[in-house]
């Protein structure tokens, strides 16, 4: 009885004492996050300065919105914004449905051995670095690659897949499909495995064929996961990849390959114009946050959970 009536103040002290080892365990991770995630947030003030490496953040002169005025008047920046949005759209249309289709297909394979083998193979490229993936593409489709080697041997001419700016969006999206679509099926396979088999049996007994069962049972079963991933994808519209574009930038030119992240890198770190790069980064961060919030609202409007329950 007395313990239930104990004042709240005393209560948290007791809990603190009881949980001190648990709290101690979180210290290393929290320190690293504070240092490399939270401190940089304060570093964003450099976007409003004329950052000078010798004076540091505290000693650099303030520049107000000067960096943003420069940014919004810079055609290269708007080029990067346009490329980012365009690539994001192409990825949404050409990448997003692939893992779903692949998972549905794999789910119809009866032999467990075949399914396991296919899964082991398609997961593999996810673990390759972008350097490795682009190297492999270069070896297969590049000027001296297997494809052009074959075309030349048969006197068909050559096909500059890797260096053509016009088809760059398709190229990088097919690289993304090659590398990540296989890994993407895991989530959908999990969702498929969780669908109650009785539903299929009942539908089949009622005369629903293969396609009707797909439409009325399988797809509704995947709806939650699809909406969640769609929300994340829309919220991350301004993040389309980084190393992939960095590596291939020189092959197609910066006006084709620069996205917001690489813009921030080239005009921030590579040219020591830190405040300018930070301004571009801040712009991206703020818009991304708005997008995630908006996409989540949209999910709630459709009666789905989105990132979190309302």
């Amino acid at each position: 009885m007395t313990s239930a009536l104990r004042p709240a103040r005393r209560n948290w002290r007791v809990r603190l004492r009881r949980d001190r080892s648990l709290l101690l365990m979180t210290v290393p991770a929290v320190v690293l996050l504070l240092l490399f995630n939270y401190v940089p947030l304060f570093g964003l003030v450099t976007a409003f300065q004329e950052y000078d490496p010798l004076s540091g953040v505290s000693g650099s002169p303030w520049a107000g919105l000067y960096q943003f005025e420069r940014l919004f008047g810079d055609p290269l920046f708007w080029g990067a914004v346009r490329n980012t949005l365009y690539l994001s759209f192409v990825q949404l249309v050409l990448f997003f449905p692939v893992p779903i289709a692949l998972a549905l297909l794999l789910n119809t394979v009866l032999s467990e051995r075949v399914r396991n083998f296919v899964q082991s193979v398609v997961y593999l490229p996810h673990f390759f670095s972008w350097v490795l993936a682009v190297t492999i593409f270069q070896q297969m489709l590049g000027g001296a690659g297997a494809l052009n080697q074959f075309l030349r041997a048969n006197d068909i001419g050559t096909w500059a897949v890797m260096t053509n700016p016009d088809t760059f969006a398709l190229l990088v999206t097919s690289q993304l499909v090659w590398k990540e679509a296989g890994w993407g099926i895991i989530v959908f396979l999990a969702a498929l495995a969780a669908i109650n088999t009785d539903l299929y049996e009942a539908a089949a007994a009622d005369g629903a064929g293969r396609w009707r069962r797909l439409w009325h049972i399988t797809l509704p079963g995947l709806r939650g996961v699809i909406v969640l991933l769609l929300v994340l994808r829309l919220g991350n519209s301004l993040t389309v990849g980084f190393e992939q574009f960095l590596i291939q930038r020189d092959a197609v030119g910066h006006d084709t390959a620069d996205v917001l992240d690489t813009f921030s890198f080239y005009f921030g770190i590579a040219t020591n114009d830190y405040s300018y790069g930070a301004a571009a980064g801040l712009f991206k961060g703020v818009i991304s946050l708005l997008l995630i919030w908006g996409a989540n609202k949209l999910a709630h409007a459709f009666g789905e959970d989105g990132l979190y329950r309302k």
Partner: protein, 323 residues
């Protein structure tokens, strides 16, 4: 704020026995109509094509790396079918001091980095796994915020260089040592460790450290292995941190960066002077040697992968949230 985490594998045995049975089925259920020949053929062709798209490039690269210069010349470049095999390229490559150093650096970064990341993540995940522990909500929020809000490239760079990290090994490890995403996955697993087991251990006088070490860790080996693989692959693949923090010190470059410069210099990769349609002979490094470097970056992955991959099926959950 409730995070949605999709879990697969071992869970289903207990949570959804039916789903599990469906996964293990070998025979077609009686209510399902027999497959059409055309449908089966289309399915086979599609899956076969998917497999080939992944496997053929790897095959070509491995065969070329093992080919003699004669075989490379006869093929006019990449070799599709073995025709004169030799380990020469690998011998030359391993005699090259740049590659040897890079190999050592890559293994070093991967080993140390994975150890640091795992210790930090396992401790933090367990520390946050009790839903009613002190400060647990606050800390969790602190972690999750970093998944959506971050300073971005430049401020992070300024912090790391401000701490004297330019050209230092730790700059390749510490800034990205903690993956909140991985911590959340581990935490989800630890939270579901049998409460009875933990309670019994506590009655026997075990403290939190002891419970973590002797009960929680041994019962979650699969997820621990998979997390170690995720972190390990991340470190093995480090490229961007090298580009930013040690772009000029070639004796500190890991393998990925050597692959980038080596193969990029030699083979008309994006940005090289020899870009274009020159034949294999005009390249600065023999093609088989370049392919051997590619294979070298692949081998450790391929060695570890089969051991961990089975846990993707039986023990891993996939969080549906991307960091």
């Amino acid at each position: 704020m409730t995070l949605t985490v999709v879990r697969t594998g071992e869970d289903e045995k207990t949570v959804a026995p039916q789903a599990f049975r469906r996964k293990r089925r070998h025979a077609r259920p009686p209510w399902e109509e027999p497959p059409t020949a055309a449908g089966e053929a289309a399915k086979g062709v599609t899956l076969g094509g998917v497999l080939l798209v992944v496997l053929v490039p790897l095959w070509i690269i491995v065969v070329t790396s093992l080919s003699t210069q004669g075989a490379v010349n006869r093929a006019g470049g990449l070799v599709l079918w073995p025709d004169g095999l030799t380990f020469d390229a690998y011998r030359v490559m391993l005699e090259d001091s740049t590659v040897r150093t890079a190999l050592l650096v890559s293994f070093g970064i991967t080993a140390v980095g994975t150890l640091v990341s795992m210790v930090v993540s396992v401790l933090c995940a367990y520390g946050l796994s009790r839903s009613r522990s002190f400060g647990h909500r606050f800390l969790l929020t602190l972690l999750i915020i970093t998944m959506f809000v971050n300073g971005g490239l430049i401020p992070t760079f300024l912090v790391v260089t401000g701490l004297g990290g330019y050209g230092q090994w730790w700059a390749l490890i510490l800034p990205s040592a903690v993956s909140v995403f991985n911590i959340l996955i581990l935490r989800a697993f630890y939270s579901s460790t049998s409460a009875d087991l933990v309670e019994a251990a506590r009655i026997d006088g075990a403290g939190e450290w002891r419970i973590l070490w002797s009960i929680v860790l041994p019962t979650s080996r699969a997820v621990t292995a998979v997390m170690a693989l995720f972190y390990g692959v991340g470190y093995w693949n480090s490229f961007f941190n090298v580009l930013v923090y040690m772009p000029t010190e070639s004796e500190k470059w890991p393998l990925q960066y050597v692959l980038y410069t080596y193969v990029s210099r030699g083979n008309g990769m994006p940005g090289s002077v020899n870009q274009g349609f020159g034949d294999a002979l005009s390249q600065t490094a023999p093609l088989s040697l370049q392919m051997a470097v590619v294979v070298l970056t692949l081998v450790p992955l391929l060695v570890v992968y089969p051991f961990v991959q089975k846990h993707f099926r039986t023990g891993v959950l996939t969080g549906a949230i991307k960091g």
